[in-house]
Amino acid sequence: MGALLEVKNLKVQFNTLEGVVQAVNGVSFIVEKGKTLGIVGESGCGKSVTVLSVMRLIAEPPGKISSGEVLFEGKDLLKIDKIHMQNIRGQEIAMVFQDPMTSLNPVLTIGKQISEAIIVHQHVSNEEAFKQTVNLLELVGIPQAEARYNDFPHQFSGGMRQRVMIAMGLSCNPSLLIADEPTTSLDVTIQAQIVELTKSLQSKFGMSVIWITHDLGVIAEIADRVIVMYAGYIVEEADVFSIFENPVHPYTLSLLKSLPRVDSRRYERLAIIPGSPPDCIHMPAGCPFMVRCGFAIERCGVENPLLEIVEDDHKAACWVDVKNGRAE
């Protein structure tokens, strides 16, 4: 399958009073048609900024995409004009946000909010938009869709609202759906439902998905390929099986260790990663993970490792061969 979205060496920074925040530092990845890319990492590691840059929704100023290319079906999204971008948003690339409580407009009915996008992009009549909207609401599992068309967001529960958001995202049959932590504010059962829903819709429409989360459990469920981000860098990239079975980067390793497991003993405490991510204004000279890394060697403090191929299709950015416990 070919690449639908190709991001090359994306760098994003924010100019603040305290200095320049290097939010994303040369991120490259590919999203293939019909596949799901998972992006994991802790808060503030640049996951959201990366996808918002793809949508060109970074506020400029203070934000600035300082270099890179975002090729969507061959077109560089960073170079096309605003009108074109407006057409791509919603029609080609749709986005679902983290908090369904705040991402729906409280004073507009959900029917209006969904049908608006349909009218904007497909130039259809109001009745046609109404029909499509009701279909979408049924598709995402809202019972009595027609009766609920005129309901306001506060009349829905969190999970229902997220379904509405997904319906809104799907309204124009996008080829790429970006889900920015769509299940973070939902409880576990609803989370499972949303993941299932996305998967079934994906197989139905053959769209690609970028799924951002810090929950590795969800990643295992939905992703085909995973990138692990840390301090604005991709530190590891592999298919979903290799990430879980054969992690190479110490950060990925620590993340996996801090995950509760069904087969762990009850009195065992979960592992934590000591310290906190580096301040993105004053980036350390070497590897940004070094201070928190159990495997760090001298070289880590001097030079930042590049993302290199470890095995076929498995990349990591580390000087140390973690498995064998020695420097490469």
């Binding site: 949508m55 929704l57 100023p61 407006q86 057409n87 791509i88 948003r89 919603g90 029609q91 749709a94 986005m95 946000f97 983290q98 908090d99 705040t102 991402s103 729906l104 407009n105 409280p106 004073v107 507009l108 909010q113 608006e116 996008a117 904007v120 992009h121 049924e138 598709l139 995402v140 599992g141 809202i142 019972p143 009595q144 009766a147 609920r148 009349q155 958001m165 809104m168 995202g169 309204s171 124009c172 499972a192 439902q193 299932e196 829903l197 079934s200 819709l201």
Partner: protein, 317 residues
């Protein structure tokens, strides 16, 4: 997990539960509890009936007839409210003057809301340089004292514009001048309120979500953000009507507002100045009409403020 919920025999929502109250119904219920505001609505309706319904009893021509033989007559069965210094019937003049006063209040408010909302919304939504320019302009406008400006512009322009006819009535051109001047010098407070609300609302996730679906800026401003900030706009607009009526009365009282023979409640007071003690009916009737109208509008504004404020819900229960 069922993704294809078919319409089975689930009863319709209306059969299971009463549908929740619409916002408008909720606001109405809360407004009703505000006794003074309800009284205000009644008085205001009464005033409007007076100004409009009165035309069936007294013609406009009658309000303009001067007859110095009956000047300064006290209220009597022929002239219920008495006559003024040139023998015109005060009752008829308060009816036709009321139309103008209310019209000035209403149109000046519309003008104020349009300008205030536009400037506030654009400044708040786009931010940056545009915001700085518009807000400095707003501050500059705030620095110009409204009343002296009204006096100067009223004096300069009020006799320059030829009379116009509207709704089958002939107005002095000065009405237009007064409306324009009041409307264009009172939008600053509203613009600031709207800007402040836009500043916080534009950072909300639903705005980003709307941009994500390719919604145009114009539609985000007017269809997504503006409805979220309607409450303060409605309250400001209500109070703006009262302010416009007062401002008109003020400048007309000083003799530079709406030019006679077109009557307004304000310029009827102008002639009354010399007869405060000898002919009190000259100012009592138009004066009380102004006070009643403005007071009732202010109470309505108060009531709306409480009714539209979601935080007021609990304490009013």
């Amino acid at each position: 997990m069922e993704t294809n919920v078919t319409k089975t025999n689930i009863p319709a929502i209306s059969e299971v539960e009463k549908p929740p109250l619409l916002l408008s119904q909720l606001v109405f219920l809360r407004f009703k509890r505000h006794k003074m505001a309800v009284a205000g609505v009644f008085i205001l309706i009464l005033m409007i009936c007076y100004a409009i319904g009165g035309t069936f009893f007294k013609t406009e021509a009658f309000s303009l007839v001067t007859d110095t033989s009956i000047r300064l007559n006290a209220p009597s069965s022929v002239h219920l409210f008495g006559t003024d210094a040139v023998g015109r019937d005060i009752l008829a003049r308060t009816i036709y003057g009321g139309q103008i006063s209310l019209l000035i209040g209403l149109i000046a408010m519309i003008l104020e809301v349009i300008v205030g909302v536009l400037i506030g919304a654009i400044a708040g939504y786009y931010g940056g340089i545009l915001d700085s320019i518009l807000m400095r302009f707003t501050e500059a406008m705030l620095n110009i004292p409204q009343i002296p400006l009204l006096l100067v512009l009223g004096k300069m322009l009020s006799d320059k514009i030829s009379p116009i006819s509207l709704f089958g009535r002939q107005f002095s051109g000065s009405v237009i001048v007064i409306i324009a001047v009041i409307g264009l010098t009172s939008w600053m407070g509203l613009a600031r309120i709207v800007r402040a609300n836009f500043l916080s609302l534009r950072e909300q996730e639903f705005v980003t979500a709307a941009r994500c679906t390719g919604t145009k800026n114009r539609s985000i401003i007017f269809e997504h953000i503006l409805p979220n900030t309607m409450a303060p706009i409605i309250v400001s607009a209500t109070l703006a009507v009262a302010n416009a009526i007062i401002s008109e009365a003020y400048v007309s009282f000083l003799g530079v507002g709406v030019m006679p023979p077109t009557a307004t409640w304000g310029n009827m007071l102008n002639g009354a100045y010399n007869y405060i003690e000898s002919a009190p009916w000259l100012w009592i009737f138009p004066g009380s009409l102004i006070v009643l109208t403005v007071l009732s509008i202010n109470f309505i504004g108060d009531g709306l403020r409480d009714a539209l404020d979601p935080r007021a819900l609990t304490q009013a229960e």
